[in-house]
């Protein structure tokens, strides 16, 4: 038994924390690999500009990483404070996966980050490159383990019951559960895209401020090239991920499509205002049969509607809109990335209008990632672990006023942190890479 307000408060608080947290790993996973690329380019060419670029983005990385670390620690505690039932029922699976993330990833990235940031004049360049690579490997391993757990919650596998306790039957099946490969690749590419647009966008911002800056032209180009490759790839991966979801979590797909009743020849709803009470779409703009074609590759195929899964259906409105914002962002990304690659060919500087668009899209990766996360997590409701544990059964009995008070506290702290982060980031990016060199230890003059 739990109070619905308490449940909503616990979810809102956890959602706020995890939504705030996800912003930073999304940026740092991709950025860590990009830093390795910048570092290797400097090593190979000896061109100091690559070093300046590396230095600037390493500082931005450090800042983003710190934001991710501190909000991540909060999450590790909130599993217990907000969802005690989670550990009680699926703790035998979730516990080891979370511990592995700490053991295999967190220590690696945190320890080598120190060497990467402050050790350039203390270790050989080979070791410094090695430390940079370790940080990149660490961030990616961290994504591996946390997404293994998250995927398991969506598509549980490899478990059995012993004396009423849920335990692992096969750890390989637990980790490589059905949605894991799709979710992991979708997330890693999302991280790459987020990084690409952040680097291109913030460098475009620098060009708008300074007029000319060769380093910024370089990083605009680098970001755009990465985005031009990854954005279409992401659409393809997203499609595969969706088909996998159709197989394992068809209710989520029905919510995404806002398909209220099972039918053949289901239309693709481009836009509508879902009405959850009347179970219908208002102001719908539809493409006839397109959903059947997309999902089943057959214009007459039957697609299951929400009626088939009642009463265990997710809320439709947030899933429906978040999905459309995510997909819409992806298509804008493709257009901007390709236009950008074309206009920056052979070292050209893109037109100011495009620079403004890119600067405006610096954090478009965050928008798409957050929306994708909302789709997948709200789409899993009312389950916390599909078919095994309901979210309502995992909530604790912490008094509502405690939750409320700490919620206000977190909103305040996160608001201040995010504001400061964005101010500092745009300020650093606006100053550009060159201004940094000269007064830094470890940089050969």
């Amino acid at each position: 038994m739990s109070d619905p307000d308490l449940l909503l408060l616990a979810r809102a608080q956890f959602g706020l924390n995890i939504g705030f947290h996800i912003l930073f790993p999304t940026l740092t996973i991709g950025l860590a690999w990009l830093l390795l690329y910048f570092r290797l380019r400097y090593e190979r060419t000896g061109d100091r500009q690559w070093l300046e670029i590396y230095r600037l983005w390493a500082k931005i990385f450090a800042l983003s990483f710190a934001m991710g670390v501190v909000s991540g620690i909060t999450m590790s505690f909130q599993f217990g404070t907000n969802w005690p039932g989670y550990m009680l029922s699926v703790g035998n699976i979730a516990g080891p996966l979370l511990t592995f993330e700490v053991l295999f990833a967190f220590f690696l990235e945190a320890t080598f980050l120190g060497v990467m940031l402050f050790g350039m004049n203390r270790v050989s360049s080979g070791l410094h490159i090695g430390a940079t690579a370790m940080v990149a490997i660490g961030t990616t391993l961290s994504a591996f383990w946390i997404l293994a757990l998250n995927s398991w919650m969506h598509t549980p596998a490899g478990f059995m019951y012993a004396n009423g306790q849920l335990i692992a039957a096969n750890w390989f099946d637990v980790v490589f559960n059905p949605s894991f490969p799709f979710r992991l690749s979708h997330m890693l590419v999302a991280s790459g895209l987020t990084t690409a647009f952040a680097v291109a966008g913030l460098s475009a911002w620098r060009l708008l401020q300074a007029g000319s800056d060769r380093a910024a032209v370089r990083t605009v180009r680098t970001g755009l090239l990465i985005a031009a490759v990854l954005a279409p790839l992401q659409v393809g991966l997203g499609d595969l991920h969706g088909l996998n979801t159709l197989e394992h979590q068809p209710a989520k797909i029905a919510a995404i499509e806002s398909l209220w009743e099972t039918r053949s020849g289901a239309p693709l709803v481009l836009f509508a205002i879902p009405d959850e009470d009347k179970r219908e779409n208002r102001y719908a703009i539809e493409i006839p049969r397109a959903a059947s074609i997309l999902l089943r590759h057959d214009p007459d195929a039957v697609v299951q509607g929400l009626n088939d899964f009642a009463p265990d259906t997710p809320p439709v409105t947030p899933v429906f809109f978040a999905f459309r914002i995510m997909v819409g962002t992806a298509f804008v990304m493709i257009v901007v990335a390709w236009a950008g690659v074309w206009t920056t060919r052979k070292g050209r500087v893109p037109p100011r209008a495009l620079l403004w668009i890119m600067a405006g899209m610096s954090f478009s990766g965050w928008v798409a990632t957050l929306c994708g996360w909302l789709v997948t997590e709200i789409g899993r409701q009312p389950w916390l672990a599909t078919g095994l544990l309901r979210t309502a059964d995992a909530v604790g009995d912490v008094p509502a006023q405690y939750l409320g008070a700490s919620f206000v506290g977190y909103v305040f702290v996160y608001g201040v942190m995010l504001l400061a982060y964005l101010v500092v980031l745009t300020h650093m990016a606006g100053k550009g890479a060159q201004s940094d060199v000269g007064n830094m230890p470890g940089v050969p003059a």
Binding site: P84, G91, I93, V102, I167
Partner: protein, 330 residues
């Protein structure tokens, strides 16, 4: 052959928490000492922990991770009962962590603001941790006496962190900052000594079970070795800080840090003895709270694979950044 897995994990969790207290203890202690230092000294203090604080904080995540993975039944109870101090600690750690980054990049009054938040975050986190300790060892009982006791523990832990932070600075600094650190270490020593003594007296009074464990003759005579050893190390740190103050440089700058670590270790042993085998005092033993053996085995395998590498690259990082700190981070 079968191992007592819950016992092994109790040991692992204890080691993780002890390492956290020692390692992030000096970070938090230095954070709390910030207002006592001059502007250039503050830069050196921050530089002395710059390459380490991230990894140091990870021990807390590991400790909580082991609690969650190995003792899921206790995890929810403990964190639920400590809801508010946990939230306060997390806010403190967040402010401390980001202030660390922001203060380097900020100028003018912004920098002052982040310096202040760095101090405040460190203090809030340390105080909340001490408070949690006090609530935890008394089985989350509520009442005026217990609140006073939790405040005592909080003050005690703050003092202990100041001691270990100052000891770290003695090892890492020179000249004026080293001289100041020697003085700070003594203040921290007084604070932590007084508070540790009060806590040692109060804990058996607050909990009858703890009382019985300690005052059970003739075992008590053997147990008295712990407070005697604590007093010995306390005096050793006091004397060595006095000696170091007379010389400008010395090969013995590591001694206060080692002594402080020994004091903390002994305090930790004492607490462990009071509590064992309970993970929640008088309610839940480590065996009752433990996860299924299938889970414990896989986590243990992970530990066995990772720990040698972890030790190796942590040692490597400390070697890279060994010696006195002479310049700011950026």
């Amino acid at each position: 052959m079968s191992f007592d897995l819950p016992l092994i994990f109790t040991l692992l969790m204890a080691i993780a928490i002890l390492l956290y207290v020692l390692l992030d203890g000096f970070d938090l202690g230095i954070g709390m000492l910030m207002p006592a230092a001059s502007r250039p000294e503050q830069e050196l203090m921050v530089a002395s922990i710059g390459p380490f604080w991230d990894a140091n904080e990870t021990w807390l995540v590991l400790g909580i991770g082991v609690l969650l993975a190995a003792f899921p039944r206790a995890h929810g109870v403990i964190l639920g009962a400590l809801y508010l101090p946990v939230a306060a600690m997390l806010s403190g750690l967040m402010l401390r962590g980001v202030a660390f980054e922001f203060r380097i990049k900020a100028l003018g009054w912004h920098r002052e603001l982040w310096n202040w938040l760095f101090w405040f975050g460190s203090f809030l986190a340390a105080f909340a941790q001490g408070w949690m300790l006090g609530r935890y060892v008394t089985g989350f009982e509520s009442g005026f006496g217990f609140t006073v006791f939790a405040s005592l523990c909080a003050a005690s832990l703050c003092g202990t962190y100041v001691l270990i932070g100052a000891s770290w600075l003695i090892l890492k600094s020179e000249n004026d900052l080293r001289r100041k650190s020697l003085l700070w270490a003594r203040w921290g020593l007084l604070w932590s000594g007084l508070a540790l003594m009060l806590v040692s007296i109060a804990t058996p009074l607050v909990s009858s079970r703890v009382f019985e464990r300690w005052f059970d003759f003739p075992r008590t005579f053997g147990l008295m070795l712990l407070p005697v050893a604590a007093l010995g190390s306390w005096l050793w740190v006091w004397v060595s800080t006095g000696r170091l103050a007379h010389v400008r440089r010395s090969k013995d700058d590591w001694k206060p840090l080692a002594g402080a670590a020994v004091i903390i270790f002994i305090g930790f042993l004492g607490l462990a003895y009071s509590l064992f085998p309970y993970v929640i005092i008088d309610r839940l033993t480590i065996w009752q709270a433990a996860a299924h053996p299938t889970s414990l085995r896989i986590v243990l395998a992970g530990f066995l694979v990772v720990v040698p590498f972890l030790i190796a690259y942590t040692a490597y990082a400390h070697r890279v950044f060994g010696g006195k700190v002479r310049e700011p981070l950026y």
